[in-house]
Symmetry: C3
Subunit: 331 residues, 3 copies
């Protein structure tokens, strides 16, 4: 069974202090319902696997400000305390299971080693038919998930919800970084369905003209934030959803800096403009309900710049929403 890989020694258990127990049996929290990899159930149609990747090596390579390594802890601090009106009944009915395999151990490793280990775990999760949710870490954590999707082989569409295009060239010697994952995805010529990559929410003063051209010249589609607002969010989303549906397997990468910094101050590279929580929540819910969602990551939460845990709570709310509305009709 593939879970042997997931159970490997390159993982650290979730910090015990996060594992709170609700004082009210009528009000179980995520912490009460999340299980470890050893409790992986059989015959549960919707299995979610949380994996933390606590590093910002790729952010530093990209010249960004450090702190995203603390993202998984902060996101779990919020998520584990959340109430469970949606998920508790589904878990009780055997319709849903939430597994947290903990954090990748990053100490003493190169970014490439960490990426390889993340690839192996995500690949195993995909092979089990479960949904991986990666808690970043910098946006380079998208690349090992993309590698795993390519390894897995099923064609997929991809959406990057972000202020930035993240298609910068690799650094000297071909080194990946937090600004490069979608160039790597395009260059890999893996299982990505042609014409099914959407950059959603890019800001015109946050993207180079050459990078926008690169995306479009390689079959990608850009939804600029200002045009989303001008045309109406629903109209822009419908355009996007049409493209994503070219595959029945959708990979969603959510960079927290795609939100306006009022809502997500704790990120590596904040933007004054950006999405609202409810805009992104509504489309994540739709994707999760569609049976198409194959992989999800939430990246660039940087607790060092957060205000009273606001960004970590927002990241957790997005994850809780995806879990609560997930419908996967697969075997």
């Amino acid at each position: 069974m593939k879970t042997a890989v997931i159970r490997g020694k390159n993982l650290r258990d979730v910090d015990a202090q996060l594992r709170i127990t609700s004082i009210d049996a009528d009000d179980p929290r995520f912490s009460d319902l999340i299980v470890g990899v050893d409790a992986w159930p059989t015959d549960v149609p919707n299995v979610v696997v949380l994996l933390g990747v606590p590093q910002h090596l790729g952010v530093e390579r990209n010249g960004g400000r450090a702190g995203a390594a603390e993202g998984p802890f902060a996101i779990r601090s919020a998520l584990y305390r959340m109430a469970t009106s949606e998920v508790a009944p589904r878990i009780a009915q055997g319709d849903l299971a939430i597994i947290d395999v903990g954090d990748l151990i990053t100490e003493g490793k190169t970014l490439e080693q960490i990426h390889d280990e993340q690839h192996d775990i995500i690949n195993a999760v995909l092979s089990e038919g479960a949904l991986p949710i990666v808690l970043g870490g910098g946006h380079d954590t998208a690349w090992p998930t993309i590698m795993a999707l390519n390894s897995h082989g099923t064609s997929y569409s991809a959406i990057n919800i972000d202020a930035h295009a993240d298609v910068r060239p690799l650094k000297d010697g071909g080194r990946a970084h937090s600004g490069s994952p979608f160039r790597q995805m395009i260059e890999a010529k893996g299982a990505l369905t042609q014409g099914a990559f959407v950059e959603f929410g890019l800001q015109k003063y946050a993207v180079a003209a050459a990078h926008a051209d690169y995306v479009r010249n390689n079959g990608g589609h850009i939804e600029w934030l200002d045009e989303i607002r001008h045309d109406g969010f629903d109209v822009a989303w419908e355009r996007t959803w049409q493209k994503l549906q070219r595959s029945s397997s959708v990979y969603v990468s959510l960079d927290m800096d795609g939100f306006a910094s009022a809502f997500a101050p704790g990120v590596s590279a904040p933007s004054a403009d950006g999405f609202t929580p409810w805009e992104v929540l509504d489309v994540l819910r739709q994707i999760a309900q569609s049976s198409y969602l194959t992989a999800f990551d939430v990246v660039e939460t940087n607790p060092r710049f957060d205000v009273d845990g606001r960004t970590a709570k927002l990241a957790a709310a997005m994850i809780a929403t995806v879990i609560g509305s997930l419908r996967r009709n697969r075997d």
Copy 2:
């Protein structure tokens, strides 16, 4: 006259430092126009009575973080400085009066004693045909207002604008707390009109399934935040307003954590998602203009976590809007 109760010795006058005087006669501020209980007018159709309840005992009982006791001072600091384009002409015309009876004295009292004293004052205000506006304090301050509505006897509808349901059971020995007021309202079987209680803006990861069931099994209606956004705010509000109109007397409880924490960082339990200022302002204006508004409270402002007074200003803006647009066709 019932104002004897309101003038009682359990109240402390508004802090003198808040009572600024505008330097420009053409630009009177709320501070210049608010009067004390001794100046209660006759023959003014719209009389508003402000009451501060500076305690967070119920928040602490509920395991929340302290600070809401400082809410009334912070809200008045913002409100008293606000300009008066709407209210000054109406006061000049004898159409409106704003009375501030000060703060309940809370030192050395139990929460139950404070609740009883608040009940007596709100009951007297209702008997005078005036609109009470309570400045919390924790959300338990809703309970004495509910008791007063029940004592007063006129059937009423109720809306809680909140991220949370606040229908938790009482603590050991039947002790109220900031998470319990609407369970108390339901259990009291008082003057609440059947089917006319709406929980507006609840977040699915902030409410237990058992608590949502409790609300619905007892004739309450939940408008989940994500469904409000998905269906459209106006559509959801129309549903809500239909239910509230089952009575011609509407009680509105506004928990500041119903706003996204970007707009209201200074609360006991912040939520990343939530309402915008303009969404709530617009519905409060509609209710105030409808002649149906009977009681209003603004709770859970916690200045210890506020950013440059933002949350207190938001609370004050909501109160100023209600006062400015209030139309009560009653005797």
Copy 3:
């Protein structure tokens, strides 16, 4: 040539530390593309001239909190680092040029002297057929631009995007301040087109009744924020745009406190309610694209109260958007 005035000795060059050079030739930043006054091009149809006015003397006269003097540096810090997907291709094609003439030297001068020097520079910029963009500084920096529009003589319409009306009387001895520029504009009886002044976004509890009356009694139009939201932003904007189009020359003044303080915490007088970034960005883009835009200022950014540069970034985003979408069919 009028640029002799602009090149005058009352200006200080942009701080050298702001003049970063992009490390990636494919990703030029505003800093790489902005030129000095000596590089003023010929035969470029769209020339933008940035001018910083680093003072808050008018804010202090108005009793406001100091800090706006640091606005130009903070705004440039954000703007100079921004990417250039829209502007780089247009500059390369000779369609656009961005000139930064630096900051007015304010040390040892009265506010009146500073205003006179700003007038002379803006007048010269207008005479060259270029678009002046003033980086405030307090809102009194609007007055010298208005004087220059009057000196220039072409009739214009005006919009103030703001929470406040800023039509207060002058202080003793006729002294201008940050709350008076639009009263000065009205009293000047200059080139302002009758009925073509709109106060856009005023908040009812931030404006005196007498000041609202003053605006309306003098041919101005008020779009109250709450009515903009109630009627729908697009409806209100269409009303506004109809009025502005009474002249083919539009002056836009953007007070950063017109935004909700969640988005713009770093201002002299924050408002809990207010516009979102995308609302204002969309109308600025429309105005810039219309060929009508004649002068633009962005005022009241106060870095002392900012959160991680959020407000300065927002101001820079508005400026970048105006520059990127500017279309001036003039000679």
